[in-house]
């Protein structure tokens, strides 16, 4: 198809997603994003430590409300996200192809899997409590119930290679249980994450529940790992970098964050996830009450 040479296309500015808004990086920096073949695609905002700080504030602000939604409501909202991703297939296909250098068919498989993963996790919202909670038969006249509750604000270093399927596979399990997330996207492949943020912005996910920072996990990660108002951190995005992972684990100890450790290599995201993707970011709360007249 011949291109209309008289029209200059309007390029998109890729921005951060914090508290439901799309700010540029506070630092003013951006970085060049190339496609898999090394061709310029866009400038992405380069998140700074202050962007991370702002994102944590937004996530904390959203935490109470999101955790307070009914599980059914969170399920519906996540399912709606899946619907919207499906609705934007062409855009996501392009982003995944560009980012990961996949054929259209392979990119389609990845997109299918990503949408299906969202649907899978959406369904867990009102089931995890039943599967991992317990009624405890204590030796006394007490009602005793243990249930999982969100741990709070979770920093997520998203995988570097799998820019969409990997991304939703680490974000959905965090928020489905009622946590809010500060996500650092793949550094080299941030565009699916930005597009995903745009989907979130038009979805029913409240602002601040998922915040997306494009940039370097190595730069922003330490600030999130040491942040005293972050409750947990997922180090998946620095798979294989044991030195950095060790540093971040040490930093995370400052307030005893729950840490999902960095794997030796990026996992195979096509496999069905385990419950640990969710249970790593919940607290079991046990409530006692006497039974009497």
């Amino acid at each position: 198809m011949a291109r209309d040479t008289t029209r200059i296309d309007v390029r998109k500015t890729y921005k951060l997603f914090i508290g439901g808004a799309f700010p540029r990086s506070e630092s003013g920096y951006s970085y060049v994003v190339n496609d898999a073949k090394g061709k310029f695609v866009a400038n992405a905002a380069l998140a700074s430590r202050k962007d991370a700080r702002d994102a944590v504030v937004a996530a904390r602000k959203a935490a109470g409300g999101w955790a307070g939604r009914t599980a059914y409501n969170r399920a519906q909202i996540l399912y709606r996200v899946a619907e919207l991703v499906e609705d934007r297939r062409p855009q996501f296909l392009l982003a995944v192809q560009q980012s990961e250098g996949l054929s259209a068919a392979k990119a389609g498989d990845v997109l299918d899997a990503a949408i299906d993963r969202l649907v899978w996790y959406a369904g867990w919202a009102d089931k995890l409590t039943q599967v991992v909670g317990n009624a405890n038969p204590v030796a006394g006249p007490f009602f005793n119930l243990s249930t999982p509750e969100p741990t709070g604000v979770v920093a997520v270093l998203a995988p570097q290679e799998s820019s969409l399927l990997g991304l939703v596979s680490v974000v959905a399990p965090v928020v489905v249980t009622g946590n809010t997330a500060v996500v650092v996207s793949s550094y080299d492949r941030p565009l699916p994450a930005v597009t995903f943020a745009e989907v979130l912005a038009t979805s029913d996910v409240p602002g601040g529940v998922i915040n997306v920072l494009t940039g370097s996990a190595a730069t922003v990660g330490p600030w999130l790992a040491s942040h005293m108002d972050v409750n947990a951190i997922d180090l998946t995005g620095i798979a294989g970098d044991t030195a950095l992972a060790t540093d971040l684990e040490v930093a995370a100890a400052d307030n005893l964050k729950r840490v999902r450790r960095a794997p030796a290599a990026e996992p195979d995201w096509t496999l069905t996830p385990g419950l640990d993707t969710m249970t790593d970011f919940v607290e079991i709360k046990t409530v006692w009450h006497p039974m009497g007249v």
Binding site: G140, P141, F142, P290, M291, G292, V293
Partner: protein, 320 residues
């Protein structure tokens, strides 16, 4: 009207205000109350403290017989035992009172003479309380006239459970008036709740306040005819009530658990509870009683064990 009621005249003025007051009392958590009672039950009372406690417990006994088969001979024998529980040991104290049906009062009174042991009579259509008020009052006056020092009345549990608190209140007030003697030497009124029928500890707390506001001298758990009779948790709540009532009004009310207290060890558990919940002021037969029959011999056997160093047997104590 009894003086205690004046402090609460606004409360007891109407069914509605009385209900509001009683339902506004702090709730009682059964599990917590039972745990507290059990914890007090683990106190270990030894040596001199135990000897003191046993004598005190004997002095607190309302030696009771409330049987259809009671005869004048039987209650005379019981009254003799009340004055000298252990004929072999003159240091053994007498009990607090002998508790009988009204028709036995004169006989018991005669036997007890000026021993200092009181005569208590159950009245008001004991144990069910299911009779017209006139009859209950007549029953009471009959016992008072026969010389009863103390009247153990039963409340109308049906009225209480159906929420007619004012009716229960007024009945207690009326019975207390019937306890009056021309000379002013009024019989003391013990009010029996039959807590086994009221079931909940919230009810025990409410009925305790209701009775105290109506002028009860003593509040008493049970008739002994219904199971469960006295229990430690019920007594705990009643002791808390008299403690709080004194705090509020400055007036002391006595407590009498009755029925089901059979061993010396049980009795000592109650005394520990009196000591730690209501306070040592209540460790006096004027303010705490045991309604019991077989308990006395158990106390005597323990007492003998303490003095002789060996266990005794029932053959060495009189049946009545």
């Amino acid at each position: 009207m009894p003086t205690t009621a004046t402090d609460y005249s606004d409360v007891t003025g109407s069914e509605a205000s009385l209900r509001r007051f009683l339902h506004g009392l702090p709730g009682v958590d059964q599990v917590g109350a039972e745990a507290r009672a059990a914890a007090l039950g683990t106190r270990s009372i030894k040596t001199t403290a135990k000897a003191q406690a046993l004598d005190l417990a004997i002095r607190m006994v309302d030696l009771t017989t409330l049987e259809g088969q009671d005869t004048h001979g039987k209650v005379r024998a019981l009254a003799s035992k009340a004055m000298r529980p252990d004929p072999a040991d003159p240091t053994c104290p007498a009990v607090a009172a002998v508790c009988v049906y009204p028709d036995m009062v004169a006989t018991v009174k005669q036997t007890l003479g000026s021993s200092g042991v009181n005569v208590a009579a159950v009245a008001t259509a004991f144990p069910s309380g299911r009779a017209a008020l006139d009859i209950k009052l007549a029953d009471t006056r009959d016992a008072v006239e026969a010389g009863a020092d103390e009247i153990d009345m039963v409340i109308d549990r049906g009225a209480f459970l159906s929420g007619h608190y004012l009716r229960v209140f007024e009945e207690i007030v009326a019975v207390r008036e019937a306890c009056a003697r021309p000379g002013g030497d009024d019989a003391h009124l013990k009010v029996i709740f039959e807590t086994g029928e009221l079931q909940t500890l919230d009810n025990v707390r409410r009925v305790s306040w209701l009775a105290m506001m109506a002028g009860a001298h003593f509040i008493k758990t049970s008739t002994g005819k219904v199971q469960p009779a006295a229990t430690l948790p019920v007594t705990l709540v009643m002791l808390e009530a008299v403690r709080d009532f004194r705090e509020a009004t400055g007036q002391m009310v006595g407590v009498k658990p009755a029925g089901g207290i059979r061993t010396a060890k049980d009795a000592i558990k109650y005394l520990v509870m009196v000591n730690e919940v209501a306070g040592p002021d209540w460790l006096d037969p004027a303010w705490f009683r045991f309604g019991a029959s077989t308990l006395l011999n158990e106390l005597l056997m323990q007492r003998t064990k303490m003095t002789t160093g060996r266990y005794s047997g029932p053959d060495y104590f009189t049946l009545d």
